[in-house]
C-alpha cells in the first residue's frame, strides 16, 4: 500500500505524461479530466521549474468534466473537446491523457481516439490517472503510447535501420530540471563520435523524430526510467540497448562513449581524438580552479538529494574527481527494486573506507531528518531542502526538482560541459558562503 507523503516532489502520472507531450514540438495534449488537473501541473511542476513553459504556453486543452459527466459518463464531452481541439489548436499529434475522475467513471478513451483517427486526425491516447503513479510512470506510459500508436496513424513505419541513429531515453522532461541542457550535451557528445542523436524532447524535436525511433540502431538509456521504452523497442524492432542507471558527468561520459564506440564498432581514431580533447579541456578547468579549491576548502562531506540517475552521476563526479565525501545520498524517485541493490552497492563505497548512507524516500520530513542528522558541510538538493541547509549553516545548491529559485534553460550537468557547469555552480555556492563567513 502506498504511503502518505509530505510535500511530494514526484507529482503524478498525468503530469509526467503531460511533460512528455508538452516537450515534443507540435504535440498537443488533450486532458480528459477535471478542470484543475492541468493547473495543478502548471503550478506544481512548470512554475517550480522556471523557464520550462511548454511550447505555446499554458493552459492546455482540457475537457473540464463536471458533475454531469461524473454521473453519466464523459465520453461525449471528450468527443466534442477532441473535435474542437483539432480545429482550434495547431498540432501534428494530439494526445488524449485521461485523469483519475474519467478513469474511475470508466470513459472509453481508446474508442474516442479511434473515432478521431477515423476522421484522419493524428490522435493517440494514454490512460494516465494520477493514482497509477508518479511522473516517472507517466513518462513511461506516454512514451509507450507514442511508440505503440504512431504506426497506427498511417504514417510510414520503420524503413530499415539507420546505422548511426541513437535514441536517448531516461531523461524525464520537467522532472529533471536540466532536461534540455542534459539532452543537448548528450547529443553533442554522440555527434562528436560520429553518431546521430535522436533526443526526442526539447526545441526542434518534433513528431518526425519520434517517427524515426524504430530506425535507430541503438537505445542509449541514462536512467532506470528509460529501461521500459528500451525494452519495448527491443521487442518490437529488435533495437539493442546500452543501459546506464546514472547520468554521465565528467569522466563517466568518457566511459559511456568508449562503450558505445566498442559496441557500434565506430572509427576509434576519430572518436578518441574527440574524447581526448574534451578530457583535456575539463582537466584544464580543474587546474584553473585549484587555488580556489584549496583556499575555500572545497573538500567537504556532502548530502545530495535527488533522482537516482542524478544522485549516481553527480556523486560519482564529486567523489571520483573532485575529492568530496558523500555522507548521505537520498534518492527520491522511487526506483524499481531491481536497481536498488545495485545503486546501494555502487554508491555506498565510492570513497574507500568512508561509509556513505544511501536512503530511498520522497518524504520531505524524512529527508530533512536524514540530512540534519548527517551534519554535512554542503547540501545539494531541491528547493525544499533550502531550509535544512540554512539550519546547518552550510553552502547549498539546488540541483533537483523543484528548483523554485533557478532559471534553467540550456544548463545541464551531463557530460564534460555539464561537469564544468556543475563546478561553476557548486564552486560559486561554496565561495559566496566562504566570503560571507569571512566578513
Amino acid at each position: 500500500m502506498a504511503h502518505h507523503i509530505e510535500a511530494s516532489r514526484n507529482s503524478c502520472a498525468l503530469h509526467g505524461a503531460l511533460a512528455v507531450v508538452q516537450s515534443i514540438e507540435g504535440a498537443v495534449p488533450v486532458i480528459h479530466s477535471t478542470a484543475g488537473c492541468g493547473v495543478q501541473n502548471y503550478f506544481g511542476v512548470t512554475r517550480l521549474n522556471p523557464g520550462s513553459d511548454p511550447f505555446g504556453g499554458p493552459p492546455v486543452s482540457s475537457s473540464n468534466i463536471s458533475e454531469k459527466h461524473v454521473v453519466f459518463g464523459g465520453g461525449s464531452r471528450l468527443r466534442e473537446q477532441l473535435k474542437n481541439t483539432v480545429k482550434v489548436v495547431k498540432g501534428d499529434l494530439y494526445a488524449i491523457l485521461s485523469g483519475c475522475a474519467t478513469e474511475m467513471v470508466g470513459d472509453d478513451v481508446p474508442a474516442m481516439a479511434k473515432e478521431g483517427r477515423e476522421q484522419d486526425w493524428p490522435v493517440i491516447y494514454a490512460n494516465t490517472p494520477g493514482f497509477r503513479g508518479a511522473s516517472h510512470q507517466g513518462y513511461q506510459l506516454a512514451v509507450k503510447a507514442i511508440i505503440e500508436q504512431l504506426p497506427d496513424l498511417g504514417i510510414k513505419g520503420a524503413q530499415g535501420k539507420d546505422a548511426g541513429l541513437v535514441n536517448v531515453w531516461g531523461i524525464v522532461p520537467h522532472q529533471d530540471p536540466f532536461w534540455r541542457g542534459n539532452l543537448e550535451e548528450l547529443g553533442r557528445l554522440l555527434e562528436g563520435v560520429g553518431l546521430v542523436p535522436n533526443l526526442l524532447f526539447g526545441p526542434g524535436e518534433g513528431v518526425a523524430a519520434w517517427q524515426r525511433v524504430p530506425e535507430a540502431s541503438l537505445n542509449l538509456v541514462v536512467s532506470v526510467w528509460g529501461d521500459q521504452p528500451a525494452r519495448l523497442l527491443e521487442e518490437r524492432y529488435g533495437t539493442p540497448s546500452l543501459c546506464f542507471d546514472s547520468l554521465p558527468v565528467g569522466a563517466a561520459a568518457g566511459h559511456l562513449l568508449r562503450s558505445l564506440i566498442h559496441l557500434l564498432d565506430l572509427d576509434p581514431e576519430r572518436s578518441e581524438a574527440f574524447l581526448v580533447k574534451e578530457e583535456r579541456r575539463l582537466h584544464a578547468y580543474l587546474a584553473g580552479l585549484a587555488d580556489t579549491y584549496y583556499r575555500a576548502g572545497f573538500q567537504r562531506e556532502f548530502a545530495l538529494v535527488g533522482e537516482s540517475a542524478q544522485v549516481a552521476g553527480l556523486s560519482d563526479f564529486l567523489a571520483g574527481t573532485l575529492g568530496l565525501s558523500p555522507r548521505t545520498l537520498v534518492i527520491t524517485d522511487n526506483p524499481p527494486d531491481y536497481v536498488r541493490e545495485n545503486l546501494v552497492t555502487q554508491l555506498a563505497g565510492q570513497v574507500p573506507g568512508f561509509p556513505t548512507e544511501v536512503a530511498f524516500t520522497e518524504d520531505r520530513g524524512e529527508i530533512a531528518d536524514l540530512v540534519l542528522a548527517a551534519k554535512p558541510g554542503l547540501v545539494l538538493g531541491s528547493s525544499l531542502e533550502a531550509g535544512v541547509a540554512d539550519r546547518l549553516g552550510v553552502p547549498f545548491l539546488q540541483v533537483s526538482f523543484p528548483v523554485a529559485d533557478r532559471v534553467l534553460l540550456s544548463r545541464g550537468y551531463a557530460g564534460y560541459r555539464g561537469a564544468a557547469t556543475l563546478l561553476e555552480d557548486l564552486g560559486s555556492a561554496i565561495l559566496s558562503h566562504f566570503h560571507a563567513a569571512a566578513t
Binding site: M1, H15, A35, F43, P59, S62, Q81, V88, C100, P402
Partner: protein, 470 residues
C-alpha cells in the same frame, strides 16, 4: 437553520447564479443577472482552469501552525508545493491514493496519516482536503474526523471540495471558509464585542496585506486578520470582533456574511481598495463604522498627496487598456485606469454573479458597450478578443500572459504584484511605465509559432460558449 450546519456550502452557481462563460456587452450581462433565472453556459472547447481544490489549497497554505492532508492521489497536492514555496506557513501531505484505494476506499490510510502527522508535528490544527477521487468514491472522511478529534484531542477540519461539482473555483474559498468557521469559530454565544476589527484577506500578497494593515493601524484600529496568516485561535477571536471589513468582497463574502449571520459581527460593505478613489471609500467605510470619519478623511488626503508626489505625473491618457483579472480586482483596476485618464476597451473576469449586479448596472449606464468576457484560463478566447481590440496595455493575473505578450501590446502581471492602497498604486504605476516604455520582449515572443489556427480567429470569440442543455 444555521448555514454552518451543512457539510459544505452550496455551490456558487446555486447560491449566486455565478457564471464562468460569457461574452457580450456590459448592458447585456447586467440584464442577464437581473433577469429571473440566469442561464448557465458551458464551453464546447475548453482549456484547463482553476478549481475549488486549488483554491482550498491556496487558502490553507496561509494558515499558521497547521498540517494540510490532501486525501487524494499524489497529483492533487502538486500545486501545494508552489503555494508552500511562496508562503511556507504549514505542512502539506498527500495520502497518495493508488489504484487499489480507488476501489477499496482509503479511510484507514487517512486515519494513519493524520495520526502520524499529529505525533510528528503537533500542529494546532489539521485540515483534511477531499478530492475528485474521494468525492466519486464517497469515502467517509467525516467519521475519521470525529473519531480522531476525540482520540487525539486535536482540531481537525474537513474541507469538502470535489474538483467537478462547481465550475467556479471561488466555490473552493467558500467551502474552506465554511469549514474554518464551522470547526474553529466555536459555539454561538451572547454577543460581547471587543474593539477589534476583522480584516478579511484571502490569498492576498504580503505587501498588499501590509498596506491594508498599515492604513487601518494609522486609524488606531486593532486588527484580527483572517484567514491569511491566521492561526486556529484567530477564527474564535473573530466571532467577538466589533465588525468585519473585506479587502475583496468576491472571495470574502462567505466569511463576512457567515460571521454576521452566525455571530452577529457586522459586515461592512466596502470596495476593493484599488486606486485612489476606491481606497478612500474603503477607508471611509471603516471610518464610518468606528465613528472616525474625520480621521479617515484626513488620512486619505495625506496619503493621496504623498502618493501623487511619488506618481510624479503618471498618466494613462490616450492608452487603451485591456484587463484580464479576478472580478473584484478587475472592477477596481478599471476605476484606477480611468482615474489616470486611460481607456478600458474590454475586460475578462474570472466569474460574475449576483454580488456584481450593482457594479454591472453602473457600468451599463456609463459604458453600455464595454465588452465583458467571463473566463478562467481560456486564453484561446482572450487572444482572439485582443487581436480585434489591439489594446496598448494588458493588465492581467493569469498564467498565460506569454500568449498575450506576443500580440505586441505591453503586458503587466498583477498576479504577484502589490496593487492595494496607496503603496500598491505607486508600485503598479511604476510597472506600467516600464512596460509601456519598452515592448521588445513581446516582439521577441512574437517570433515563436502561435498556438492556434488562423481559422480560429475568423470565428467569433464566443463561438464555443453555448447554453447548457440539461
Amino acid at each position: 437553520m444555521s448555514i454552518l450546519k451543512a457539510k459544505a456550502p452550496r455551490s456558487r452557481e446555486k447560491r449566486l447564479d455565478t457564471m464562468n462563460a460569457w461574452q457580450g456587452s456590459a448592458t447585456a450581462v447586467a440584464a442577464e443577472l437581473a433577469g429571473e433565472a440566469t442561464v448557465q453556459r458551458i464551453r464546447t472547447f475548453s482549456q484547463s482552469s482553476q478549481d475549488d481544490l486549488l483554491y482550498a489549497l491556496q487558502l490553507l497554505a496561509g494558515i499558521r501552525n497547521s498540517v494540510t492532508v490532501v486525501h487524494a492521489p499524489r497529483g492533487c497536492a502538486a500545486a501545494g508545493l508552489y503555494f508552500q514555496a511562496r508562503e511556507p506557513s504549514g505542512r502539506l501531505i498527500v495520502t497518495n491514493l493508488d489504484e487499489r484505494d480507488t476501489i477499496m476506499g482509503a479511510d484507514l490510510k487517512l486515519r494513519r496519516a493524520v495520526t502520524a502527522l499529529h505525533h510528528r508535528y503537533h500542529p494546532e490544527v489539521v485540515f483534511i482536503v477531499s478530492s475528485p477521487v474521494v468525492a466519486i468514491n464517497n469515502d467517509d472522511i467525516q467519521s475519521v474526523v470525529e473519531e480522531l478529534h476525540e482520540e487525539l484531542e486535536l482540531a481537525i477540519v474537513p474541507v469538502y471540495v470535489t474538483g467537478f461539482a462547481s465550475r467556479n473555483a471561488v466555490t473552493g474559498y467558500d467551502a474552506t471558509l465554511h469549514a474554518l468557521l464551522k470547526y474553529l469559530g466555536g459555539p454561538r454565544k451572547a454577543r460581547e464585542a471587543n474593539n477589534r476589527v476583522n480584516l478579511l484577506a484571502v490569498a492576498e500578497h504580503r505587501p498588499d496585506l501590509s498596506e491594508a494593515v498599515r492604513l487601518l493601524s494609522a486609524l488606531g484600529v486593532e486588527l484580527n486578520v483572517l484567514p491569511d496568516g491566521a492561526g486556529a485561535g484567530t477564527f474564535r477571536d473573530a466571532t467577538s470582533a466589533c465588525f468585519s471589513i473585506p479587502l475583496d468582497q468576491d472571495t470574502e463574502d462567505y466569511l463576512g456574511v457567515s460571521l454576521r449571520d452566525e455571530y452577529e459581527v457586522p459586515y461592512i460593505e466596502a470596495p476593493r481598495p484599488v486606486g485612489l478613489g476606491a481606497t478612500g471609500r474603503w477607508l471611509a467605510a471603516v471610518g464610518a463604522a468606528l465613528g472616525l470619519e474625520e480621521k479617515a478623511r484626513f488620512l486619505h488626503e495625506q496619503e493621496s498627496i504623498a502618493a501623487r508626489v511619488e506618481l510624479a505625473g503618471f498618466s494613462l491618457q490616450g492608452v487603451r487598456v485591456y484587463l484580464g483579472l479576478a472580478t473584484a480586482t478587475a472592477f477596481g483596476v478599471l476605476e484606477l485606469v480611468q482615474e489616470f485618464g486611460g481607456e478600458v476597451v474590454g475586460i475578462t473576469v474570472s466569474h460574475l454573479d449576483q454580488l456584481h449586479r450593482r457594479r454591472l448596472e453602473e457600468l451599463s449606464v456609463r459604458h453600455p458597450d464595454l465588452q465583458i468576457h467571463v473566463a478562467d484560463g481560456q486564453p484561446f478566447e482572450e487572444v482572439s478578443i485582443l487581436k480585434r481590440l489591439t489594446p496598448d496595455l494588458y493588465l492581467g493575473d493569469s498564467a498565460h500572459l506569454g500568449q498575450l505578450g506576443r500580440l505586441g501590446g505591453a503586458v503587466v502581471s498583477l498576479e504577484d504584484a502589490p496593487i492595494l492602497g496607496y503603496r500598491g498604486l505607486v508600485s503598479l504605476a511604476g510597472r506600467i511605465s516600464l512596460a509601456l516604455r519598452n515592448p521588445s520582449f513581446g516582439a521577441a515572443l512574437a517570433r515563436t509559432s502561435p498556438p492556434y489556427h488562423d481559422a480560429w480567429y475568423r470565428r467569433s470569440p464566443n463561438w464555443h460558449i453555448k447554453q447548457e442543455v440539461k
